[in-house]
Structure formats: structure tokens, C-alpha cells
């Protein structure tokens, strides 16, 4: 299994934390302290919940070496179905929220089963299911926006605050902790990482890769559905645009956070920190009243920089490891030579 050295891991987190602190201070200064005001902070954390969740959803599929392009579509369908159920069919709002989770899990498991059964590239499978789900989402809500007034009891959760932080942010953090614990301490979590790192080795160790893929896609879908539920509780209304802009940021968080695309690694803390960075860029954009397009430009550049730097470090590390190995080998040969000559001297 691929374990990153704690030192490099620490330095990456340090860079991310430093970026966040520096960015927050800069924003605070340029807004004359308004950024740290209670209202501004509340909004900042409130809109951080969804980026964290979709980043985690993507991270789980990346852990097994897969991709999930359908995250936004799954979340969108989950939110829209919940809204339609509550507003049009008169269901209990909490039941609607539960359905959102179920929809997410079912869609994710369907992705996993399709990948396993057809052996098609996960990219294409999720591209196809994304298209199908976008169609379903549009069919559900059409062009209307369903107002959150229909589910006041659930919407209260979106506005509630626990321990001075928005409730939905706290929930997202709880989910992140649970995902982190699952990867660290459960057999299933370790199996997922093993399958992602080297499927042949995993097979030889008696791990079912098919099971790992299905579970990873299912969990990814479940969290995407949960992100849909969070949107359902916190947005003023639900329409067909929910989930539309999740695709890119879902990749941004894990990649900046240090998750490798080839599978076998997770970085829950890194993903959460990276979601902070992305959110900061968005806040800065709002603060300086720039066009929304700037966010994409900056995040694109950051991703490219991150992967290039990560790659550079990896090459350096392998080079270092190679040198070390060569030195050890040299040493052994020398030691053997010394012993031989010593033995010969004794004979003489």
C-alpha cells in the first residue's frame, strides 16, 4: 500500500493551512474587517458544507482509482426529487430528505454495478449516467424553481447554528470525520485502498475488487445525495441548476488536497482544507466584485500547479530512494569484499 511519508504529508497540510490563514487575513484587511463579522462568517461556513461533501464523494471514487462525473447530477436529482415529493405530492419534508439520500445511494450503486459488470471505463459509465440523470432532473422540475417555503421544518436546519457554526457545516465535518475513520479503521476501508493501489495484489490477498468498486461508487453516490439534501435544506429554492457546477470543484478539492488519481490514497483532512481554499477564492471573488469566471481561472491554475509540484516531489523522492538503495547495495558489496579479503588473509 502507498503510504505517504508523514513529513511530506505535514508539509502539504502546512502549505494549505498557511494559504487559508493568509487568504483569510488578506480578505479581512481588504474588507476592513467585515469579512470576520458574524454574518459574513456564517455565510462563509454555510456555503462550505457542499464543497466539502462533494470533495469527499469524489475522493472515495479516486481512492479505488475511479472517477465519478455524475456527482453533480446525482445531487441535483436527489434535491429535485425531494422537492417535488414534498411540494407536489405532499410528503413529509423529512421523508423527502431521506429519499434524497436513498436516491444518491441507489444511483451510486448502479454506477458501481455498471462498472463492474460491463468492465467499461468508469469515466464513460459515469458520463453516461450523468447525462441520463440530468435528463431526469430536468424532467422532474422543468424550468420552475420550487421554493423552500414548502419545507420550512427542514429549511430551519439549514439556518440553524450549533456551537456558533452553521449546523450544516458541522454535519459536513461529522461526515468527513466518519469517512476518515472508515478508511483508517474498518476492514472495508482498507480493502478499498488496497484495490485502488494495486488490484492484482488485492486479488492475490483475497480482496474482491468488484466489491470494492461497488462500495466506493455507492458511498460516493450516498454522499453526493447527502450534498443534494444539504442543498435542499439550505438553498432558498430548488431548480434544475442544483448540482450543475459541482463537477469541477468536486475534483479540485481532493486533487489539491493530495489525493492521487491512480488510486490507493485518501486525504480527508487535505480535501477539507482544499475545500476551504476553494471557498476562499470564491469569497475573494465576491469581495472584489469580479466576474464568477475568475474563480475557475484561479482554481484551474491552482490544480495545474499542485499536480505539477506533486509530480516533481515524487520524482525527487524516487530519485532519492534509488540513490539510497544504490548506496546500500554498494556498501554490501564492499562489506562482502572486505570479509573475503579478511578470510583470505586468515588463510595465509
Amino acid at each position: 500500500m502507498k503510504f505517504k511519508l508523514p513529513a511530506t504529508m505535514g508539509s502539504q497540510y502546512l502549505v494549505l493551512i498557511a494559504t487559508i490563514v493568509l487568504g483569510a487575513i488578506l480578505l479581512g484587511v481588504s474588507s476592513g474587517g467585515n469579512f470576520f463579522g458574524p454574518v459574513s462568517m456564517q455565510t462563509f461556513f454555510q456555503f462550505l458544507a457542499v464543497p466539502i461533501l462533494i470533495g469527499l464523494a469524489q475522493m472515495i471514487t479516486l481512492a479505488v482509482g475511479q472517477l465519478n462525473l455524475a456527482i453533480g447530477a446525482i445531487g441535483g436529482v436527489a434535491a429535485c426529487l425531494a422537492a417535488v415529493m414534498v411540494a407536489d405530492w405532499g410528503f413529509n419534508p423529512w421523508l423527502g430528505g431521506l429519499v434524497a439520500l436513498v436516491v444518491g445511494a441507489v444511483a451510486g450503486i448502479a454506477n458501481g454495478i455498471l462498472v463492474v459488470v460491463t468492465k467499461i471505463n468508469g469515466f464513460i459509465v459515469t458520463l453516461a449516467t450523468m447525462t441520463v440523470l440530468l435528463g431526469v432532473q430536468y424532467a422532474l422540475v422543468n424550468t420552475r424553481t420550487i421554493s423552500a417555503d414548502n419545507w420550512k421544518s427542514v429549511a430551519a436546519l439549514g439556518k440553524a447554528s450549533w456551537f456558533g457554526l452553521p449546523a450544516i457545516f458541522v454535519i459536513a465535518i461529522i461526515v468527513a470525520v466518519m469517512v476518515g475513520l472508515a478508511f483508517k479503521f474498518t476492514t472495508t476501508g482498507r480493502h478499498l485502498l488496497a484495490s485502488g493501489d494495486n488490484e492484482h495484489a488485492a486479488t492475490l490477498a483475497g480482496i474482491s475488487n468488484d466489491r470494492s468498486l461497488t462500495i466506493a461508487h455507492g458511498a460516493s453516490g450516498l454522499i453526493a445525495g447527502f450534498a443534494g439534501f444539504i442543498s435542499f435544506t439550505s438553498l432558498p429554492g430548488v431548480n434544475q441548476s442544483v448540482g450543475g457546477d459541482w463537477l469541477l470543484s468536486s475534483f479540485a478539492a481532493p486533487i489539491i488536497g493530495g489525493v492521487s488519481l491512480t488510486g490507493g490514497t485518501v486525504a480527508v483532512f487535505g480535501t477539507v482544507l482544499a475545500a476551504f481554499v476553494v471557498r476562499l477564492v470564491d469569497s475573494a471573488r465576491a469581495e472584489f466584485q469580479l466576474a464568477p469566471a475568475w474563480v475557475n481561472l484561479v482554481i484551474g491554475a491552482v490544480i495545474l500547479g499542485t499536480v505539477a509540484l506533486g509530480r516533481l516531489r515524487e520524482t525527487r523522492e524516487t530519485a532519492k530512494a534509488g540513490m539510497l538503495r544504490a548506496r546500500v547495495a554498494n556498501h554490501r558489496i564492499n562489506a562482502a569484499a572486505v570479509e573475503n579479503t579478511a578470510a583470505e588473509e586468515v588463510k595465509l
Binding site: L114, Q137, H200
Partner: protein
């Protein structure tokens, strides 16, 4: 059991004409479905094939999207992918629009400016992939982020209404003209065939010729089939990767410019719909995602089928949601078919597992079970 479609150009080895091979190929299957669809639509709506109003726009969009499909197919041929195909189209078209609007260039020069811009951004992407060895998916995804930010920003800075609307001579003719406008010795062509078909056909032949007739094309395919073998055969694989991405960028830009000429203005929204279609065409047509095998005709037929379905659904009054659902399902079904084909093709030669576990696998297109 033929090895006809095995990677790296074995199909050129003429092993005698094998009709069964042609009949069971995905291309002939696509032709069959297209014919059936045309028949069904024609029978249900007899006036559906009105030349000037239905066939000409359909052919125009087939022409544009065939180029989009080829842009993706080029990159698939080396086992990589280009997520930024739509954004590169927007980027190239933006430069052509600037050339017309700000620099008052004539039509052909502006077209060239756009193509060069597209190939530069594509080449840059390819260079990053080759230089860093990072997965093409991530690099092109990040590039699409960056361009998604850059293009609207430039438009809003340089043009009043976020669009370049100058129309130099020739733009209208290429974008909206049909052969009705082309008169020779007192006889004019049919109104059903747009002028755009001609340059597109030339480009298609150019790409087809590149793969079928040139050493360069063979080398690109070998790079896609097995990059290590290619390297050992003294092929400069990094250069080929950069070149392929540059051509892909130029093709994407060409498609974006064509779309702009047909709608009449250059806007940041160009290329929004390109991504899904760009994968749909090549994959329906039998191009392998793993690289090393392509089909230009298949790409054209795949695009034709997808657009015919779209047009058919529109004619029958189905909404945009049905269209998405259908396209997604078609992609899944077609790919399951591809899977069955690959399995059948690979059975006679027991191919060992794709890469030894201890080699770095970052250069693989997308890690997944598909290549196993």
C-alpha cells in the same frame, strides 16, 4: 476470428477481403441503424426531409460535430482524453472573433489565427502532460477550468455585449451558404447541402490520410497502443503526444469557428455542448478508449447517429430531458457492445495483464477495470 482490428495498424495488412469482417464491424452496424432511423422518421413525418429547412441544418451540425469528434478521436488514439475540447473551441473562436472585430482581418487570415491559437493551447496542454507525466484527464480538466475562466473574462473586457459580431466577406457564405449559392454554367446545386461540408470533408480526409497513409500516423497509433514499445522503437513519444494535442486543439478551434460562422456571432458559449458529443461519436464508431485504434468513418457515423436521434426526437416533440436520457442510454449500450467486441478480439491472443504492478502507471489514460 480475425485480428483485423488489433492495435497498431494490423488492419492495413491485407489478409484478403473478408466480407464478414465488414458486415460485423461497428461501422456497418451504425449505417444500418442510421438507415432504419431515416426510414422511420421519413415514414412517420413525410415532410421531415424538406431540403432547405431540415436537411441543411442537420448536415451543418453533423459537419461541425464530426470535427469535434475528430478532435477527441486524435487524443483517444494515444490513449488519453481531452476534457477541454469545448473550451479549446471557445478559445480558438475567441481569437478569430478578435481578429475580425478588433484587427479587421480578412476572413481566411482570421480563420488561420483561430486555428493557430487552438493548436497553441492544445500543444501547451500536451506539453504539460508529456513533461510532467500527469494523467491527461487532470491536465485537461484543469485546462478547461482555466479556459472556462479566461474566455468569458476576455470577451467581457474586449467587446461591449460579450460577443464579437463583425462579419467579414466569406463568413456568411461558409456558415450559412448552401450549394444553391454555387452556380456553374447556369446550374445551381441543391439547397440541402451546406457549403461547410466541403472544408469539413477536406479535414476529415486529411485526418484519415494521416492515420492510414503516413508514418507519422502509424507512430501515433503505436504510441497509443503501447507507449513503452513505441519508445523502444525509437519513436519520440513525447513529441507525438504534444503534436496530437496540438492537432486536437486546432480541430476543436476549427469546430468552434464553424459553429460561430453558422450562428453569426462569436460568444463565450461556443463549445458548451461539445464534451459529451465528442466522446459519443468516436466511441460509438469503435475508437478504443485505451488507445491504438481509431476509426474516422466510425466517428462520422457515430456523430451522425447521435444528431439524427436528436433531430428525430425534436420532430416528434420530445423535450430536451428525453434527449439526454436517450443519449446517455445509447452511450451505455454502445459501450457494452464495445466491451463484448474487445473481449472477443482479445480471446485468441492471451494478452498479459496491462502493466506489471511495479511500473508507474500514471501514463495510463484513466485507471479502471476497463483495461484489465
Amino acid at each position: 476470428m480475425t485480428h483485423a482490428a488489433s492495435p497498431a495498424g494490423a488492419e492495413k495488412r491485407r489478409q484478403g477481403i473478408n466480407f464478414r469482417r465488414y458486415l460485423t464491424s461497428p461501422q456497418s452496424f451504425l449505417v444500418l441503424i442510421i438507415l432504419v432511423l431515416v426510414g422511420v422518421i421519413g415514414a412517420a413525418k413525410p415532410n421531415a426531409f424538406n431540403g432547405a429547412f431540415v436537411v441543411a441544418p442537420l448536415l451543418t451540425s453533423i459537419a461541425i460535430f464530426t470535427i469535434v469528434g475528430l478532435a477527441q478521436m486524435m487524443v483517444l488514439s494515444i490513449g488519453q482524453m481531452n476534457i477541454a475540447v469545448g473550451n479549446m473551441a471557445a478559445f480558438g473562436a475567441m481569437f478569430t472573433g478578435m481578429a475580425f472585430d478588433l484587427w479587421d482581418m480578412p476572413f481566411l487570415v482570421g480563420l488561420l489565427v483561430g486555428l493557430v491559437a487552438g493548436s497553441i493551447i492544445g500543444g501547451l496542454t500536451g506539453w504539460i502532460i508529456a513533461r510532467t507525466g500527469v494523467n491527461s484527464f487532470i491536465v485537461t480538466l484543469a485546462m478547461s477550468f482555466a479556459l472556462l475562466g479566461l474566455v468569458p473574462t476576455v470577451y467581457s473586457m474586449l467587446s461591449p455585449g460579450s460577443a464579437f459580431t463583425s462579419k467579414p466577406d466569406g463568413m456568411e457564405f461558409l456558415g450559412r451558404g448552401t450549394f444553391l449559392d454555387v452556380c456553374m454554367v447556369g446550374y445551381c446545386g441543391p439547397a440541402a447541402i451546406p457549403v461547410m461540408v466541403v472544408p469539413v470533408l477536406i479535414v476529415v480526409l486529411f485526418v484519415g490520410g494521416l492515420y492510414a497513409r503516413t508514418k507519422l500516423g502509424r507512430e501515433i497509433l503505436l504510441t497509443g497502443a503501447n507507449i513503452k514499445a513505441a519508445e523502444l522503437s525509437a519513436i519520440p513519444t513525447n513529441k507525438r503526444v504534444v503534436l496530437v494535442h496540438a492537432i486536437s486543439g486546432a480541430l476543436a478551434a476549427f469546430a468552434g469557428i464553424l459553429l460561430a460562422t453558422s450562428t453569426g456571432s462569436f460568444t463565450p458559449a461556443i463549445g458548451n455542448e461539445f464534451m459529451l458529443q465528442s466522446f459519443l461519436g468516436p466511441i460509438l464508431g469503435g475508437t478504443l478508449l485505451a488507445g491504438g485504434y481509431i476509426s474516422v468513418t466510425g466517428t462520422f457515423l457515430g456523430i451522425t447517429l447521435a444528431l439524427l436521434i436528436r433531430r428525430g426526437l425534436e420532430l416528434f416533440g420530445a423535450g430536451v430531458e428525453m434527449l439526454n436520457i436517450f443519449l446517455g442510454l445509447i452511450l451505455l449500450v454502445a459501450l457494452s457492445a464495445e466491451r463484448i467486441r474487445t473481449v472477443r478480439r482479445r480471446r485468441p491472443v492471451e494478452v498479459p495483464a496491462e502493466t506489471p504492478p511495479d511500473t508507474p502507471s500514471e501514463k495510463e489514460a484513466i485507471p479502471s477495470g476497463a483495461s484489465a
